[in-house]
């Protein structure tokens, strides 16, 4: 294992120090491992907070700032944060208009946020939750844990953060959150496994001529493994299941081509070109896009595609100013 770290047990604490030092717009509660905006939540603004296991940077801490999140809880590596972290973030970020928890759909995340919500409710803060579940690699069913929350989380945090920033009340913010959640789908793949520092070796072995299709963001193996193929073929394997799952025609879409952390930008641009070709062929209108590393899986090489069926209101919220380490425009 080759990593720029001091000690496997200190990775997150040390990284939080660096984040605090690099970004004047945030402050860090090191005890609870929560990243907050430097300024307290404006009275009357719905607070939008998120959190999850670490290792997906810039998600979530890199999205704390004006126009996006009010706070983010950093869990252990790939491990959802604990309820007391979320409870601290909820109390601290509340501006009197309630707190929205953005949760990626994983058993651990859901249960920990649930416990935090129960505790927060006792304290009188209105807590609402939106669970992102956009990964079409996972079959959805009443009898399973359901789909994973992956790339759509980035888009949802931006759009919902903008809605809250505009001053919408909790019901208005929730309505947007559900609309985004309903209209977004993702699919990912890996060329290599990531290496969790505490594990010290790759989570899975992948021969030099094979790839995993349908991976999540925690180094979980994907749906299946197959011979390495061309960017063009890979794009098809990511885009097809998404288009099969939801009809994206007739609406302006937001498309994200996301890197898993170990793939260089030149390959992400190349992949984006392939994805656009397929979406064009399918008659889909791309109104906005993001290409880069936004929701990563440590040092994994690979990428994911997210498509969100937007509308004028969602596009306007997308375009609204955002000032975070991970996404910034208009300010």
């Amino acid at each position: 294992m080759k990593k720029l770290i001091n000690n496997v047990d200190d990775v997150i604490a040390d990284a939080l120090k660096g984040i605090e030092l690099s970004d004047d717009n945030v402050r860090v509660d090191h005890e609870h491992r929560v990243i907050y905006r430097a300024e307290k939540t404006r009275q009357g603004k719905v607070a939008v907070i998120s959190g999850g296991g670490s290792g997906h940077e810039p998600l979530h801490g890199g999205f704390v700032g004006v126009g996006m999140l009010d706070a983010a809880c950093a869990g252990q590596m790939f491990t959802s944060p604990t309820p007391d972290q979320m409870l601290a973030a909820t109390s601290e970020a509340d501006g009197g208009a309630g707190v929205l928890h953005i949760v990626k759909n994983y058993t651990g995340d859901v249960m920990n946020f649930e416990m935090a919500g129960e505790m927060a409710a006792d304290s009188g803060v209105r807590v609402e939750t939106v669970v992102v579940a956009d990964d079409v690699a996972v079959q959805d069913s009443l009898y399973t844990a359901g789909r994973r929350g992956v790339g759509l989380t980035v888009l949802l945090e931006k759009i919902v953060g903008a809605a809250a920033e505009e001053g919408r009340d909790m019901d208005g913010v929730l309505e947007i959150a559900h609309r985004v959640n309903a209209g977004g789908r993702s699919m990912g793949m890996a060329l290599t496994s990531c290496t969790v520092p505490a594990a010290g070796k790759p989570t899975f072995d992948l021969p030099d001529d094979e790839m995993e299709i349908g991976v999540g963001i925690h180094g979980e193996p994907g749906r299946h493994r197959e011979p390495l193929s061309s960017a063009r073929d890979i794009a098809k394997q990511l885009v097809d299941p998404i288009l099969h799952d939801l009809d994206f025609t007739g609406a302006p879409c937001i498309v994200m081509l996301n890197g898993m952390g170990g793939t260089p930008l030149i390959e992400l641009y190349l992949m984006y070109g392939e994805v656009v070709r397929l979406l064009d062929d399918a008659g889909i209108t791309i109104a906005r896009n993001l290409v880069g590393n936004y929701i990563t899986s440590l040092d994994m090489a690979g990428c994911s595609v997210t498509i969100l069926k937007a509308d004028d209101e969602i596009l306007a919220l997308w375009d609204a100013p955002v000032k975070t380490a991970g996404l910034r425009w208009g300010v």
């Binding site: 959802s80 007391d84 651990g108 249960m111 920990n112 844990a145």
Partner: protein
């Protein structure tokens, strides 16, 4: 014969050692069908727990603290689940320093119910429930038929082991392994494995008591 708080603290120590010794193994199991952290998660949690049991006090307070410590130090799926297990377990123990076999049995059942209501897993979903359920059932049965706690918990550990083995053939329907669908078959569930340590530790701590 009832179990003293000291014996139950010994249980926690034994569980902590088993987790620590098998940390890499648990993480390896989790690498195959999860995200390679179950060993570190449980080890972090049990280290936090064992830092707090020097002065145990009453049985119910002790295990409430154990549960809360796990909830606030483990995270992931196992944190709320083991945390809930111990918090519910605590409720039936009373505020004394001795726990009767009956109280222990009903507390274990309460813990299992807590895990099930928190995680909504059923038998056969390839989770810790597949080890925990048979273990609790076996202990209940043994105690009901008048066996000693030592014998009952030994039977519980044996049942947990069988439950753990049974997860190998299962297709996961809950937790992270469920994303693998059919590919989860052939792999032993990490949570069922750590749960087996929990019951092996219980049997070991009650051995000879």
């Amino acid at each position: 014969q009832s179990a003293s708080v000291a014996t139950l603290v010994e249980w926690l120590h034994q569980f902590g050692s088993l987790v620590e010794q098998n940390k890499g193994y648990l993480t390896d199991l989790d690498s195959a069908i999860g995200d390679a952290d179950h060993g570190s998660n449980m080890a972090r949690g049990m280290t936090a727990v064992l830092n707090q049991v020097a002065d145990p006090g009453a049985a119910d307070a002790l295990f409430k603290k154990v549960g809360m410590t796990l909830v606030s130090s483990v995270g992931g799926a196992s944190g709320p689940l083991y945390g809930t297990f111990f918090m519910r377990f605590a409720t039936g123990l009373g505020d004394g320093t001795e726990v009767t076999p009956e109280a222990l049995v009903s507390s274990l059942r309460a813990g299992l119910d807590g895990v099930i209501s928190r995680g909504k897993a059923e038998l056969g979903d390839k989770t810790m429930v597949d080890a925990m359920t048979p273990a609790v059932v076996a202990i209940e049965g043994s105690v009901a038929s008048g066996e000693s706690l030592a014998d009952a918990t030994r039977a519980g550990a044996e049942a947990a082991r069988r439950g753990r083995e049974s997860t190998i053939a299962m297709v996961a329907r809950k937790g992270r392994a469920s994303y693998l669908g059919e590919r989860s078959k052939g792999h032993q569930d990490p949570g069922a494995t750590s749960t087996t340590y929990l019951f092996e530790a219980l049997a070991a701590s009650l051995d000879g008591v």
